[in-house]
């Protein structure tokens, strides 16, 4: 009887089995995630409009979560492709809060610095920077900073659009700042110290 090819046999095995992963993700998700209730039916993967761009369907990602594949999960581009359309959420037969789980996975990937493409995380961070600075979003600042860093070439193409938006009064060159910035800052500073633990 021939021996099993040990090399390929190994690659078929899951190397890391971090069984705390599922609970951690569930804990860090805003509402009650119901993640442990997934029956792997695939209604999420079937619903997802940009599924073809994802390296793993949401369902597969949940299977990987269960298998404790921490690195592979946090490296997946799936959460970053999610467009927050909530089709999967309303169709999920087990009421898993899929979109919110995707948000959790993004924040975990950022903390662990596991994401593979910086475009999306940095866009989010730029957006948040603006909000933390002004209390409101600032589209002009966001767009210029974002494109300068990640798509300088696209900036050229986008400039006509930007110009159009400016001339039609749909974009402002100066940010609006809320009055209660100190209050907001105090709230956010405190919030950053807190984490969901139960």
């Amino acid at each position: 009887m021939p021996q099993a090819d040990t090399q390929s046999f190994r690659t078929a095995l899951i190397q890391e089995e971090d069984l705390s992963l599922l609970e951690e993700v569930s804990m860090k998700t805003a509402g009650v995630s119901h993640l442990e209730m997934c029956i792997q039916c695939g209604s999420c993967g079937g619903s997802c409009p940009p599924a073809e761009e994802m390296d793993h369907t949401p369902r597969m990602l949940f299977a990987m979560l269960r298998a404790g594949m921490r690195d592979a999960v946090l490296q997946s581009n799936t959460p970053w492709i999610c467009v927050s359309c909530y089709h999967c959420v309303v169709r999920c037969p087990q009421n898993v809060h899929i979109t919110d789980v995707m948000y959790t996975l993004k924040s975990m990937a950022i903390r662990a610095k596991k994401y593979r493409d910086a475009t999306a995380p940095e866009f989010s961070e730029t957006f948040v920077d603006m909000v933390e600075k002004y209390g409101r979003s600032f589209e002009f600042g966001l767009a210029t900073r974002h494109y300068l860093k990640h798509a300088p070439l696209r900036l050229v193409g986008m400039s006509t659009l930007g110009l159009g938006m400016l001339t039609k009064g749909r974009m402002s060159l100066t940010p609006k700042r809320i009055k209660g910035m100190p209050q907001l800052k105090a709230i956010l500073d405190k919030a950053k110290e807190l984490e969901l633990t139960s």
């Binding site: 805003a30 509402g31 009650v32 409009p49 940009p50 761009e53 959460p79 970053w80 492709i81 467009v83 927050s84 359309c85 909530y86 089709h87 959420v89 309303v90 979109t99 919110d100 948000y103 959790t104 993004k106 924040s107 950022i110 999306a120 995380p121 866009f123 989010s124 957006f127 948040v128 909000v131 209390g135 409101r136 979003s137 589209e139 974002h146 696209r154 659009l161 159009g164 938006m165 039609k168 009064g169 749909r170 402002s172 609006k176 809320i178 009055k179 209660g180 209050q183 907001l184 105090a186 709230i187 956010l188 500073d189 405190k190 919030a191 950053k192 807190l194 984490e195 969901l196 633990t197």
Partner: protein
């Protein structure tokens, strides 16, 4: 006059100015009194929550706490932007569903001298207010210039009907509310199958090719159903389809021309306001051609748009099921027969 607390959201001040302007015009005749939440801040869109959970929800909750303090006789917050509406509603819902979250968020709010008890406010979308508080009958009675002959594709997008934790909408995927409003102002509503499909959201910024495909699906579908114009309730949807249409065409080598406006703009027209007061002209994809049809008798609009079943032939179909529809039952006449 119905009183509401108003959360405009950042885009209403910039990219969706047309939405803001038109809403301000029609509010008065429809009897909607909007009182802006004082010194509201950004809801964090879909970005903040992907970075840091407690700050994201604290950011949203500051608005709820401010609104709850306003106390002008109403506890109903109205948001016209889909993402804002969802974020506010979700924060309220999750703070109750997950008491640990509610506690942490309130700890943060206290650093700013604020507090919010989940469930204090009713968070609603402006479309919900128009159809369920004002009512189709009142809306119809105010119409002076029905939009006869204008074929519109009702495009609701994602975040209004979904996830709908408070069960406010008739259906999460095929809701009838926008369609009903558009019919009430005399427009011809096409059976648009992608009414709640995704516009790409923030993907226009971070993964444009993904977004272009989603935009293409929408505009090609609207065109196939012979819509003159798409009508939306969401600033993000409007922005993506309007401003990124040229890029999408460039990407696919197509020549779609599908204007998109806010439903409040069309209500404004039907109520007799001049287009310039309603923000028309600020769109990137021109509405000129489409608008030219309003008030003009369009000859033979019968097209092979929506494949409808013809009566008396073949096998009978079940009647449409309506859940959760407040106000006037839509098929009251059908039901009586």
């Amino acid at each position: 006059m119905n009183d509401y607390l108003f959360y405009p959201g950042c885009s209403m001040e910039s990219s969706a100015k047309a939405y803001y302007d038109s809403l301000m015009e029609i509010a008065e005749p429809l009897g909607i009194n909007l009182k802006e939440i004082e010194d509201w801040n950004c809801c964090g869109a879909t970005e903040y929550v992907g970075i840091n959970l407690i700050p994201a929800y604290s950011l949203i909750a500051r608005n709820l706490a401010l609104a709850a303090k306003m106390n002008n006789g109403t506890k109903t917050v109205v948001a016209p932007c889909s993402a804002c509406y969802l974020n506010l509603a979700k924060a309220d819902y999750y703070m109750a569903e997950r008491p640990a979250l509610g506690e942490k968020v309130n700890q943060a709010l206290e650093a700013g001298g604020l507090h919010y008890v989940p469930g204090t406010l009713d968070i609603r979308h402006i479309l919900d207010v128009i159809i369920n508080d004002i009512g189709l009958d009142v809306l119809k009675s105010k119409v002076v210039k029905p939009l006869k002959g204008l074929r519109v594709a009702p495009y609701l997008g994602c975040m209004v009907p979904r996830p709908d934790y408070y069960h406010r909408w008739s259906d999460p995927e095929h809701p009838i509310e926008l369609e009903e409003v558009l019919k009430a102002i005399g427009a011809e509503v096409v059976d648009f199958p992608r009414a709640t499909a995704c516009c790409g959201g923030h993907m226009t910024q971070i993964g444009p090719e993904t977004a272009y495909e989603l935009i293409r699906r929408l505009i090609s579908s609207a065109e196939k159903y012979k819509a003159d114009i798409m009508v939306t309730v969401c600033p993000m949807c409007q922005m993506n389809i309007d401003a990124y249409q040229a890029e999408t065409n460039r990407h696919f080598g197509t020549h779609y021309h599908m204007p998109i406006v806010f439903f409040t703009q069309l209500i404004g027209l039907a109520l007799g306001f001049p287009p310039e007061k309603l923000g028309f002209g600020t769109e990137i994809t021109s509405t000129k051609e489409a608008l030219a049809r309003i008030g003009v008798e369009v000859p033979e609009a019968v097209e092979e748009g929506a494949p409808r079943r013809k009566k008396e032939e073949g096998l009978p179909m079940p009647p449409r099921l309506l859940k959760n529809v407040k106000g006037k039952p839509r098929n009251a006449e059908e039901a009586e027969q």
